[in-house]
Symmetry: C2
């Protein structure tokens, strides 16, 4: 394959050379040193989420969705009911998983351009006593919007419901406190803001709820409780772990500490995002979200109105130049996405913007505006 490209994606993303080089060895899945690394990884994850002793960290093979499914499958009892607060594709996916698993589930749907409303969620919880669990997505990767998990957690706790947060694309890149935010289960994955390679996800889990969930899982592979028990019993995964991805993750965690922890990383991502917004704004691009809803994780840009704009061509030309962006995932608007996470820095964002400028010129597109100026809106349709 050809040379390495920079990935402006929500993961798999660009990792450091040192993270990748830590995969240059084969270790036994029962090797004492390896088990020590696994144990250290679990402790680090708890610390990153500001968890106390009432939590444990469980690693789960597969993509982040596998970890999400493992939580829903394992901790919602047969007589439970799930409410999912949805404002994007990943919220919808949680509801879809619950449905396939035969878990009674309701979705409370919000516009993709607005955060989930705590008030409306609390009203829905208050209305339906059958609901035992509330789930939402912290940073909806489909748009880049941030949901008010602290507020939602307080509401869930006040109303006596268990709170599940998909923090896939935010954990490690935005400070989060599972204790004060009343998050009972937080899910993320290796190849996001901690900047490891893909291969597994992880869950910060409220210990007593995990203990209580015996015999509940609808799967053997995705049984989060059995996975936790295995890790506690002898430090081992029940089934073959992705050893190389775990070695990479251990290194990624060391590099996160060296960078100064989550706050410093969040500051770098915010600087990346600022550089991106500055450059894209200058080219005339418009964002899907209002600025005050926008996270520094990933940003959805509307397609330019220009008749010569063609996303596959735009994507392909950028990729040729070594810059990989991401297609959109908004339901009712043509967008593409640019991630600002991973081993990337403001100068990489500037390089990307330069490449986008070059590609637009090559496509003979003089303006990236997605809407027409006032006075010409009659042409909008």
């Amino acid at each position: 394959m050809s040379r390495t490209k920079l990935l402006f994606t929500p993961g798999p993303l660009t990792t450091s050379e040192t993270v990748k080089k830590s995969m240059l060895r084969d270790v036994g899945s029962r090797d004492r040193e390896f088990l020590g690394e696994v144990s250290a990884i679990r402790r680090s994850l708890l610390a990153l989420g500001n968890a106390d002793d009432s939590y444990t960290a469980v690693l789960m093979q597969g993509s982040g969705t596998f970890a999400v499914e493992s939580v829903l499958s394992t901790i919602i009892p047969r007589n439970g009911k799930l409410l999912v607060a949805i404002n994007g594709a990943y919220g919808r996916r949680m509801a879809g998983i619950a449905t396939v698993l035969g878990i009674p589930c309701e979705g409370i749907i919000f516009d993709e351009a607005t955060p989930v409303s705590t008030e409306r969620v609390a009203a829905a919880l208050a209305e339906d006593a059958a609901i035992t669990h509330l789930a939402t997505v912290h940073c909806e990767t489909s748009t880049g919007i941030l949901n008010p998990v602290a507020e939602l957690g307080r509401a869930a706790s006040r109303l006596g419901r268990i709170f599940i947060v998909d923090a896939m694309s935010s954990f490690g890149g935005i400070p989060i406190d599972v204790v004060s935010d009343h998050i009972d289960f937080l899910i993320s994955s290796a190849n996001k803001c901690i900047q490891g390679v893909p291969g597994f996800g992880f869950v910060l889990a409220r210990l007593h709820l995990l203990e209580k969930a015996e015999g509940c899982a609808r799967s053997v592979s995705l049984d989060l409780r059995a996975q936790w028990q295995g890790l506690e019993a002898d430090g081992q995964f029940r089934f073959t772990p992705p050893t190389h991805a775990l070695l990479a993750f251990a290194q990624a965690l060391r590099e996160l500490r060296e960078e100064g922890g989550v706050e410093s990383r969040a500051a770098r991502y915010a600087a990346n995002h600022q550089a991106l917004m500055h450059g894209m704004g200058a080219l005339g691009f418009e964002t899907y979200l209002a600025p005050h809803h926008q996270s520094h994780i990933i940003t959805s840009f509307r397609y330019p109105l220009h008749p010569r704009f063609d996303f596959p061509e735009f994507y392909g030309r950028l990729s040729e130049l070594g810059f990989v962006i991401y297609p959109g995932k908004v339901s009712h608007a043509d967008c593409f996405r640019i991630g600002t996470i991973g081993h990337l820095f403001p100068h990489d964002m500037e390089a990307l913007v330069g490449a986008i400028r070059q590609v637009l010129a090559g496509m003979q597109i003089d303006s990236a505006r997605a809407s027409l100026p006032v006075g010409r809106t009659e042409a909008y349709e």
Copy 2:
């Protein structure tokens, strides 16, 4: 972590430097070149199994067990029933998965030291018309025994049943022909005889049976049919793939071809096994299986009777010397296992035997015999 050790395990196993080095790049999961590699991997797997156009290859994130569960979950309909022919831990695991998934399931149990009997399995199929699917393990990694999948496949086909084979530790290391052996679903994983790194499993699947299985999966993540549809639609995984493990696997497949294919690899493994048996025999070790049931994949050795033999100490001392072996998994006998697969050669086996000799001497064990010579059997208890 300290220096690299040689892994005499059933996987994760020792891989080549070039396989590991192919992980030194981050690729986008939608990158055209990456999708080309994924497509080439799927074609190579079909060729390795001698599959024709009536099969497709589907990759599934997670360990091999995840791939096994994806098959059982996806292809056995609500009114189906599974018979598992069991002579070890991996057969039992399949039955356990079916049970958790709510699939009616019977196990036909054989002694762990003898292969599954086709005659008895055929009789069980003939007796119970409700059974729609038969499953077994090709090489039971718990002992190293080989089951007669060709015979079983003929019986299943004659009796009109769908045949599922867990070929986890054999595929790529023992020639197999899914067409002539009537195997409808064959499951294996990246970190076995193809000598990739762990992170995903794969399934060679009879196309028309996969097509027919719509709406059957008891999981979203482990929905093999949806995974296949995703790969067919745009070449992409539905959820984040382990990109680095896939690049390593593509390289591992190239190296398998360079070695001369499955026959040549099987010959190397057989030579490894012969070197191991020669050396271990000279030290007095006894195998759990009779030689004619023993595969060249992995071998179970009985613990020496010697009172100073202590497996954790034996394992630890060998590991210190850079040789990682594997604990036993036989139900009613104390054994340890030594794998002869991976990027290992007869001289590595000789080095291992030398290390074992040294460790035994260090533990002041003068004989590795597991049974007493005739005339002294009264002391056996």
